[in-house]
């Protein structure tokens, strides 16, 4: 193609986290003026690879070459100096400062008297923005901009830092249709100017529109490479899920029990995301005792919001529609109420919302069942320890002592502590949000075994997961959510991962108008 060496070349990148092989022998090149899409399921190794490229992960094997020269990044700043910039999903702008001030943070032009030269700063900013075809007032406060505009500001900042390679991690996940169009026109400007772009996304329609080449990662390795313009959604989905051996199948045939949970026409509206363009189509599903029902959906599909509503933990979400638990109307206003009604929840982010890492395993295990540990609001230390010990043993938690801070355990074992806490409440319905995320394969297998055990006891399970293999392997039925509505339901024994993924991604361009996420820092 080109005689000049590629902008960036990754050769044989391999990285392990503990026992997990996050990247294995990955090769990837980015040429000048090329948009290279990176596809793959969660956990396929995309983020790790990009962290290697942006100097965030440094203890990997393999080689990085920038314009033909081998380099060794020791910190993100090294990568930045080499012209590689990453646009994070959480934007790292200072909301209280103006666009120009954000672009020049720490490098403000000075006047002769040593004060900030605003005139020069604003003019430079205007020029930078014009360069990528964006019309924005440099004096606007960043916190007042829309998310899409803020994202464009981060792109401009990367260019101000003379970035030659931009990494964009799901840049459209929070954008509306028109904002996406604008971003794409900026990307094509960049391409014309000879910048290389690595574009991570789940959305097939976007890939065809914006990218030149696509690399699919699976289980840490490169599964396929395509010409992005001609690849079909089915081809890409097949490469992403592969024909892997089903290691997860823990499903057992058991007669389903009574209907535990029935949801009909449930809509979630969490203030401010209603753009009036979408009909409030709702979520319909039911869970029977002893049944594991899967919830499949991409970021922004309403998956997490549904679970939060069912557990009474949503951020004051207003919802409409009908939810019945054991035949009675059910509308929990707090997690405490949900737990008393027999509904338990294992959250997605165990460190952030599941555990108190510096407290002991014991304290974390018994938190939900304290009243059972003694009379008059007292806690018997002996009983507390024996409950924690029994729970740890039942779940096969590997630990030194139950007095150790729970933060010292491995990810899988931490997750089991949360799991154990919830099982101690003796729930009838168990809600799980991506319970195996960031958990190694052995721990995964154990969690599946536990899930099966739980279902065997007649507990109904609603399992949300971004891993398709997990859904197909563990569940009996799978409900697919998209844009806050249930769009399909599959019998897990008669569906394929590719079929699920196709349903979850859809092809409907309106789907871009997904609920917005807020900017870090607020205003």
């Amino acid at each position: 193609m080109d005689a000049a060496p590629p902008l960036v070349e990754l050769r044989g990148i391999t990285k392990r986290f503990g026992g997990v092989l996050a990247c294995s022998d990955v090769n990837l090149t980015v040429r000048a003026g090329e948009v290279h899409a990176l596809l793959g399921e969660n956990g396929a190794g995309k983020s790790t690879l990009m962290r290697v490229l942006s100097g965030d992960v440094t203890d990997h094997s393999g080689e990085i070459r920038v314009r033909g020269e081998p380099v060794a990044f020791r910190k993100p700043l090294d990568a930045q100096r080499a012209g590689i910039a990453m646009i994070q999903q959480e934007l790292d702008l200072v909301p209280a400062l103006s666009v120009a001030e954000n672009l020049h943070l720490g490098r403000e032009p000075r006047t002769a008297r040593g004060t900030v030269d605003r005139r020069r700063m604003n003019a430079r900013t205007r020029e930078l923005l014009r360069h990528i075809g964006v019309d924005l007032d440099p004096r606007r406060q960043v916190g007042l901009l829309r998310i899409g505009e803020q994202q464009l500001v981060t792109v401009a900042r990367a260019l101000a830092l003379r970035a030659r390679v931009l990494i964009m991690d799901e840049p459209t996940s929070a954008l509306s249709g028109t904002e996406v169009d604008r971003l794409f026109s900026v990307i094509s400007e960049l391409r014309g100017a000879g910048t290389g772009v690595v574009y991570i996304s789940h959305r097939m329609d976007e890939i065809g529109e914006v990218a030149d080449r696509a690399t699919v990662l699976r289980n840490g390795g490169v599964a396929a490479e395509f010409d992005a313009r001609s690849v079909t959604a089915e081809q890409a989905a097949a490469a992403m899920v592969g024909e892997e051996v089903d290691t997860t199948s823990a499903r057992r045939h058991r007669p389903p029990g009574e209907e535990l949970l029935s949801v009909s026409g449930l809509g979630l509206r969490s203030g401010g995301c209603d753009d009036g363009r979408r009909e409030p189509a709702g979520i319909d599903l039911s869970v029977r005792g002893g049944e594991v029902v899967g919830l499949c959906g991409l970021l922004g599909s309403g998956r997490t919001e549904l679970l939060e509503a069912l557990f009474g933990s949503g951020p004051s979400a207003r919802w409409y529609g009908q939810v019945r638990l054991n035949g009675r109307a059910y509308c929990p206003r707090s997690p405490g109420e949900a737990l008393r009604a027999g509904v338990a929840f294992v959250p997605e982010d165990r460190r952030g919302s599941g555990l108190t890492p510096e407290h002991s395993v014991t304290a974390n295990t018994v938190l939900s069942v304290l009243p059972r540990l003694g009379p008059l609001g007292l806690v018997s230390r002996r009983r507390e320890r024996s409950v924690a010990r029994r729970s740890s043993r039942r779940l096969g938690i590997k630990l030194g002592s139950i007095a150790d801070p729970v933060g010292t355990l491995s990810g899988g074992n931490q997750q089991k502590v949360v799991f154990g806490r919830m099982l101690l409440t003796e729930p009838r319905l168990l809600l799980l949000d991506d319970p195996t995320r960031g958990v190694d394969i052995a721990a995964k297998a154990e969690l599946y075994r536990l899930l099966d055990e739980v279902a065997e006891q007649g507990i109904g399970v609603l399992l949300a997961s971004s891993e398709l293999a997990e859904l197909v392997g563990v569940c009996s039925r799978i409900v697919v959510l998209r844009g806050g509505a249930s769009v399909a339901e599959f019998d897990a024994s008669r569906t394929t991962q590719a079929e699920l993924l196709t349903a979850a991604m859809g092809s409907d361009p309106d789907q871009r108008d997904s609920p917005t996420t807020s900017v870090g820092g607020g205003r």
Binding site: P335, S353, L355, E358, A363, V366, L378, D404, I441, E453
Partner: protein
């Protein structure tokens, strides 16, 4: 107490359907690291306020001035009891503050609340002719309600505790001045109208043959109750959980708002009790009593090793911290160190204690 999880009880029913062996059901003894927590440095830091107390105590013995017969004045029982009496008010405040600081909050209103309670006690006992128990009950109730209201503002209005209690600091001081008419209210004992029942003067006296000051005894009793409560109650687990990770606590079914409100209520109650003690010791209710006591209270909690970020710390630490600052005050005063210099030394001790906290491995 150390428990190694053994697999004498295979949790599963042994018929895992996958045929895949439950990976890790027979681990090679897990990742044992239980021993390392009890290393020397860690133990020292865990109980730093206690070791600090011992250290300052020993130093005080060494540097104490001698009496006429060569006795160590610092160690005389009279001096030691005076020392405890001197810190009893700050100590009681610090006990209440520990509840609030453990949930990651702060209460700046306690000094003003002490003033309000002191004025309230004096006015109720004299001008309003309340009985001792009735006056104490009303004042304690007022402190409790004041604290609960602050807690409600923090929990429901989601205003930061610093701001809520900064406002509370102003309001309690204003209320104290209004109630007292801006004047110090003297407590005159007697049985006539406008005179306080003699029983209240007990707070300024000594029991057990005139040895143990009553405020010191009250502080000691409250300390024991508070330590026991924080060790054994379900509520204390909720305090730590809310302070450690509020979101996780909420998702575990902990009534987070209720815990916050109660913590502030307890803190207000303790401040009011300290105010009653204050009035009883001085036989007056001054609207200017307790100014900047909140800072001394917070200092005691911090020196005691409780993290202002919440979720970490102990009541034993707080009490050791209060005692440490009391011993320091006492020995500096015994040696007639300049009061300005005293303040500087106390400041250095607080910074040192906080810096030592940072050494503790943060997991």
């Amino acid at each position: 107490m150390s428990s190694r999880t053994t697999d004498d009880d295979p949790a599963g029913d042994g018929s895992a359907p996958t045929g895949s062996p439950p990976a890790g059901s027979a681990p090679p003894a897990g990742t044992g690291r239980s021993g390392e927590r009890f290393g020397g440095l860690d133990t020292l830091l865990r109980f730093q306020s206690f070791f600090g107390l011992v250290l300052v105590f020993l130093a005080s013995v060494v540097f104490s001035p001698r009496g006429d017969h060569g006795e160590i004045i610092f160690l005389t029982s009279e001096n030691l009891f005076n020392l405890v009496r001197a810190i009893s008010e700050i100590g009681i405040i610090a006990i209440g503050l520990t509840f609030v600081i453990l949930i990651g909050g702060i209460d700046l209103s306690v000094g003003s609340l002490l003033g309000l309670a002191a004025v309230g006690s004096a006015v109720l006992l004299t001008a309003d002719d309340y009985g001792v128990l009735a006056a104490i009950a009303v004042v304690l109730l007022a402190g409790l309600v004041f604290g609960l209201l602050q807690g409600l503002a923090v929990a429901l209005l989601r205003v930061q505790a610093f701001i809520v209690t900064l406002a509370g600091l102003q309001m309690a001081r204003g209320l104290a001045r209004l109630w007292s008419g801006g004047e110090t209210v003297p407590i005159i004992y007697g049985s006539g109208p406008g005179e306080a029942p003699l029983a209240f003067s007990l707070l300024g006296e000594r029991t057990f043959n005139g040895i143990v000051p009553v405020p010191a005894l009250m502080f000691a009793v409250l300390a024991v109750v508070a330590v026991a409560f924080l060790r054994g109650s379900a509520f204390s687990r909720h305090l730590y959980a809310v302070g450690g990770n509020e979101k996780a606590a909420r998702l575990s079914g902990v009534p987070v708002n209720r815990v916050k409100v109660v913590a502030f209520g307890v803190c207000g109650l303790c401040a009011a009790l300290a105010g009653i003690v204050h009035a009883g010791q001085l036989n007056t209710g001054s609207p200017n009593a307790g100014i900047s006591y909140e800072l001394d209270g917070i200092a005691a909690v911090v020196v005691g090793g409780t993290s202002l970020a919440g979720g970490r710390g102990s009541m034993v630490g707080t009490i050791a911290g209060a005692l440490l600052l009391g011993v320091l005050n006492n020995i500096l005063a015994l040696n007639t160190v300049d009061t300005d210099l005293q303040l500087i030394i106390k400041g250095l001790v607080i910074v040192a204690a906080a810096a030592l906290q940072r050494l503790r491995p943060n997991r």
